[in-house]
Symmetry: D2
Subunit: 385 residues, 4 copies
């Protein structure tokens, strides 16, 4: 008989945006059951959050350490199996490391860690513990993003030459720090976010999307990093030229001061024979352009799409699937792989297609390299890890 | 402490499209726990479906009658509270009636019944049993559809003059009956669908959307109803002029033979001062047009939207919410009202905004009137119930 | 050596919208030279208009009769060859008839005449005089509309089943009659416009577009015709079901009270294998949809388009061509045919593709039939000429 | 009485793309009459082109020198007044200089000259001769681009912070040099185009658009310039970071190897209070975004637009105006200024809004600076003239 995976959550107490999103993602396809949590470093708040979520009070903990410790002592039938970690960046590394070392599989919000050094150490922990690990770069969960990657890697566009990726937001156009917007406060605070603001929060998404869709790796970059809003401590805007390992070049930009913009992350990739274009605002459409014939419109659930898109689609074409479904695709694929592990089976290729530790290491390297380049007078900075 | 509503499902066994959608909708916001089901009239299939869903075998039943009977005998703490009915149209009335009479609240897929006569009887049952009842006209669950209604009913567009609504599909462009496509088979079978095909399946959605957004009621119609694909038994195409109770007029069309179309249901409403336009393909955008100033773009999660849209939104603007979230909004609002009832509280206006028995009766009346008009040589048919 | 065709204009004095459009259309490709005109029934105004246009005063006339009379007496080398008639509807028939009988070729603005009776008589005059005649149904001049027709008539979409055509405008949402808006005044005046308002002004465009793109003829219709704005004398709104000669059905609507709408005339046609969609707002794009593969985007000047679109395109793909270029295509094709006639050559098929007397007769028949249907209690009215 | 300006053309013989475009632009509004030309350095070809255009053979010349010489000797009433120069870049400077010195006003295709040195010298000639001069940066002729500039310069968006401009093309994705595509051959030939390929051909358009709409001047840049197609001699791809004189930053990219792209030049500008977005593919729409209220859609011919857009619009909203009308706006405004000069009047501000010698100098400086930056290892290059 089918049994749901038992899920625990670190962070994500009342009012947190991304914690609620993770919980919806975990619920959509029914593979997880939330059984425990340490939702806040404030015990009262953690308890209240657990109650709202219908958790048994004895499985709402005051700290992640307590959660791991107590859960380990439970019988295997009851014990949590997968830990979701949705805390601010400076509280990513320790809880993840300890979770893995405690035998749990982990789903972690991006960017992976506070620094590249932590990321490299975490990679070792993942290898040593042999636990499964997922990093929630949501946008790679969209069916049409997966279709884009499959089109590119199948060679249909020819050798890739150009990659343009952008993530314009406007929500930090004014000085929000220290006010009621908690999101704004921690994301602009170097003590909680690390050395990057916009580059860490959304630049990493753009970078990850570029590498995912193109199937290429960045080897050099040249960045212009800015603090636009007076008084802000971290970058709220930046752009970078990219050089890829096959010789292709690209442009990435991410900004949080494009007043009036929401979250329309967009990617365009061009090869010798054709190009493609995807953006979150019309997430179920992938435009495919050709040198010598009419452009085509690939659609979620539509005719002609490949195995990866199909596997990540729930409804017939034309019933839009959105951000939460893309997020749920990460959770679902991770569950399929965890279950395969539990059953000693080999997971399908389509199931394994979720971002993991390598994407996390590269994302942290992106942050460090792009910030370094922003400070450098030299044009090109080698992408080093 | 928060407790999930206990949900049971009638129909929706393996392979059924809409059953899976209902289950996702019930899961997204975590207010329900699926505890029992009678998923198929075939006991083996029902059992297998229940197993896949992780249900306890003793709560997977062979029939809805058995489900209601056995569940009633369970202690109140365990007993199912809400029944989802997702069977084909000819198996709507009896299970719903019995569920209500057995004391359960009911969520029913549309169209409500097999005939208007059944609908009228069901209305009496709902009144007599005083149970809560939701009919899943999904499209009214979209935040921007709710915004459209709020804009219209607030009077900002002035007196409404014109309503255009359309639902073009292409999936029945060829004769699919009797083949592997079960959807196609039962929806084109008068024994299972009733007197209407396209008009019942998607025409009712268009009709419901028109009345919901405009806040008006149809009083007359004039229809052109067609069977386009040879050999088909029910209409696969139709259009109707509409006259509303305030004197406004409109055009509705619904077709399943528009080759290449998916599910882009669309509505446009015009008043003396302005108009609006919404379509499922860009579900998070509501275009608002004005006589004397630039059009505006209202967005899910965006600035300037009203209380109904806000209440039905989960993510910040620009993270697309789709069909499943719209569906989940019906489930969520229904849960809020059921819980309010259980706690003896008055539900908020925004919570009560889900389609119910009146919408169901009007939908069935639409089917009977539109089909009658299609057969009539007279231009106008009064909309009678 | 190349010589421009000598053009004269009837109507279109200062302040007239459509006269200026005709003059631009005549200029764009350089085949015409405006040599004379009778721009207004007011001699002072006619004179002033001629002066502004740089005409020699002795070729600015006080009436169309005078123009034809005097021009006929000029040596052939100087004499006007083509007459553009851009007066209100009630001054279409007489000037056109007399121009043809005076030996001139004629370009006439739509709708062709004041009544169907006039249209039928004009058809005889065209036949008897053997002059060339063009009716400016502008929208058929767009390259992507021509591509649509070529795709349909080539059979690529299979047998046509459905045609949806619409023309929503908002500019008559309030009572404008008798005010400064001369357009509004004459177009709503039965003495100048004839028996139809919106149906004559824009309904005929929609009707013409439907027959042009589908290659079919309407044989029956059922209309709902309305006067929405209080005090108005002619219809400002209407819709019609259509039945075509191959059994296909359709819906047409045209309204001038859709507040906030501009001129986004749109057509969708569906056959057994696929469909297509074109609208003026994105005039250089033709969406082509298929039952079993991704939709395609055909583009003005783009890859894969046919001979008719190519012939009517001036710039490489992506440099938008608009309404004036579409209008100019009618003038250019007409000039090519007039010149072929002058040189005794057979014009290419692509040159002959402009609306003429048959389209005019059918347009006037549409007006009379649709208005008759609007007044009838019977559902279907045969399309009679 | 109104008299057309007498126009002569240098270059633009049969088969040349841009010459035909200039002629259409000159014709659309009827202010010019083409009276003479030296259409090719090949006398036979020049003669044949003149004949096709209906010119008197004695005013078709074998060289621009001959044209100026002979025309100067004609009586003022007959003599050409405005010279259009539409030759490849290396034949811009000499014919323009001599035209100005011969007393003619000049319209010149972009980029202005072969080198910045020539541009600076040309600026002196313009000043010394006091002739009027227009450089055809077409995109600034679009009504919605003018509206964008007026919105920005009116301060409605607040202080400008970010400018993104892009011009993706795909037509040079393969090696076309030396083949039948003459456009491709001369534009990739350093002897005819100068030191830049894509940067000169379309990068200058993007640069000009950025400065025009933002009302700012670039003071620093950092470029990545590439030759993507093997064997090509000039850049076919590039990107540049921009720093503006008010502290704003930006990103520009232009490429001719984005396979499948046409000519969708696009600009986005963000200030403290809002942003705007325009692209050629939907040229009649300007999206205006706000921090705290719904986005607005400004439209050519629509409600709420300013004096510059209005002055440059010919048709009511919703009849698309395109590339040729944008081009014609340059010609029209130039004609209005030339006529004002002839009549000793002061031209309106809206008439003077066409690109001139300063834009030309800055465009040539852009080419030299961006190419220098592309070769430099330093990140930032000062924008020097």
């Amino acid at each position: 008989m089918y049994k749901k995976l038992k899920l625990g959550m670190i962070g994500g107490g009342q009012g947190a945006f991304i914690g609620a999103v993770h919980r919806i993602a975990a619920r959509i396809d029914g593979e997880y059951e939330l059984v425990c949590g340490a939702f806040s470093s404030n015990p009262e708040k953690s308890k209240a959050s657990g109650e709202l979520l219908g958790l048994s009070p004895d499985r709402v903990y005051n700290s992640y350490q307590e959660l791991y410790e107590k859960e380990k002592q439970l019988p295997e039938e009851e014990r949590v199996q997968v830990i979701s970690i949705v805390t601010p960046n400076h509280v990513h590394f320790e809880p993840t490391k300890l979770a893995l070392e405690s035998g749990f599989h982990v789903i972690l919000d991006k960017p992976m860690t506070f620094s590249l050094a932590e990321a490299l150490e975490l990679r070792k922990v993942v290898e040593q513990t042999d636990r499964l690990f997922c990093l929630t770069h949501t946008y790679t969960g969209y069916p049409m993003v997966k279709e884009a990657r499959q089109l590119v890697t199948s060679g249909k566009l020819g050798k890739i030459r150009k990659v343009y990726v952008e993530y314009p937001q406007g929500w930090l156009s004014t000085f929000e720090e220290g006010g009621e917007n908690k999101q704004a406060s921690w994301r602009t605070d170097p003590k909680q976010s690390g050395i990057a603001g916009a580059m860490g929060d959304i630049g990493t998404h753009a970078f990850n999307l570029a590498e995912y869709v193109s199937g290429l790796e960045v080897v050099q970059l040249c960045a212009d990093i800015n603090i636009v809003v007076e008084g802000r401590q971290l970058d709220d805007d930046g752009a970078s030229f990219l050089k890829f390992d096959n010789g292709a070049s690209g442009v990435l930009f991410a900004t949080q001061v494009a007043a009036g913009e929401e979250n329309n992350i967009k990617i365009r990739v061009y090869g010798e024979k054709g190009g493609l274009e995807w953006q979150q605002d019309i997430a179920n459409t992938l435009l495919v352009k050709w040198l010598d014939r009419p452009s085509e419109i690939y659609r979620t659930g539509g005719a002609g799409v490949g195995s990866f898109a199909q596997h990540n689609t729930r409804t017939p074409g034309g019933h839009p699937e959105g951000y939460l479904e893309a997020f749920a695709n990460l959770y679902r694929n991770f569950a399929l792989c965890v279950n395969a592990r539990l059953e000693g089976k080999t997971p399908e290729l389509e199931w394994q297609d979720y971002p993991g530790i390598e994407e996390g290491v590269r994302g942290m390297a992106f942050i460090e390299n792009v910030i370094a380049s922003g400070k450098s007078d030299k044009k090109w900075t080698d992408f080093t890890i």
